[in-house]
């Protein structure tokens, strides 16, 4: 899970390997806030699978690649 200068850099790094998913850094930032914002709260409880799936979908990450087990 890394950052790249552009999609061209991702393609060069993959060097023909099966790609995963490339998303804008702005989407990543939105995902991070939704996923991690409560991590240090004294009221923290483990996210359920459905809660996490809803977070992914809320920031626009849907489809088979983003389906949690």
């Amino acid at each position: 899970m890394n950052l790249f200068r552009s999609e061209e850099h991702v393609e060069r790094w993959l060097a023909g390997r099966e790609p995963g998913a490339t998303i804008p850094v702005t989407t990543l930032a939105d995902l991070a806030v939704a996923w991690w914002h409560d991590r240090l709260s004294p009221d923290w409880r483990p996210h359920t699978r459905d809660q996490n799936q809803a977070i992914l979908e809320r920031v626009g990450l849907s489809g088979p690649f983003w389906q949690l087990p």
């Binding site: 899970m1 790249f4 200068r5 552009s6 850099h9 991702v10 850094v25 991070a32 996923w35 087990p69």
Partner: protein
């Protein structure tokens, strides 16, 4: 996760932030008023819950996501300290968890060029970058260190 596991998990995280590094089992035991063996047994259960990650050959903390207990190429300056993140996602996650602005220092995985990002109100200062996730979500925990 039962109440005892939740308390141990929260104490581990709060000590991580208080110390600015991963707490050792004896530090957690001292604060909790318990034994090192009980802390390690609890950490193993939390590892199974995916609430923390222990080393593959030791009972030392490796990750208290989004924080990394070991140096990584993803460095975050936030809340007056320097932190290591497990990945680029977690780098933003440290700012989110601390609920503060910050600065991420990493590099393009392809060309190695340094990447420095200011994070303000959860938003990246440079919106031109992209993030690549190689492993599908269904397999993230198959090998979380690789993921």
């Amino acid at each position: 996760m039962d109440a005892d596991e939740l308390r141990l998990r929260n104490l581990t995280y709060s000590l991580f932030v208080e110390l600015g590094r991963a707490p050792r089992p004896d530090e957690v035991a001292d604060r909790e008023g318990t034994t090192v063996d009980e802390v390690i047994a609890g950490w193993r259960r939390l590892h199974d819950w995916h609430a923390i990650v222990l080393g593959s050959t030791t009972d030392a903390l490796q990750m208290a996501n989004p924080f990394s207990a070991v140096p990584t190429p993803h460095v975050v300056e936030a809340d007056g300290r320097q932190w290591y993140a497990n990945c680029a996602w977690d780098a933003f996650g440290i700012c989110a968890a601390l609920q503060t602005d910050g600065r991420i220092e990493t590099s393009c995985r392809d060309c190695g060029d340094p990447i420095e990002i200011e994070v303000r109100d959860g938003r990246p200062g440079d919106a031109s970058l992209v993030f690549h996730c190689l492993v599908p979500a269904a397999r993230w925990w198959d090998d979380i260190t690789f993921t």
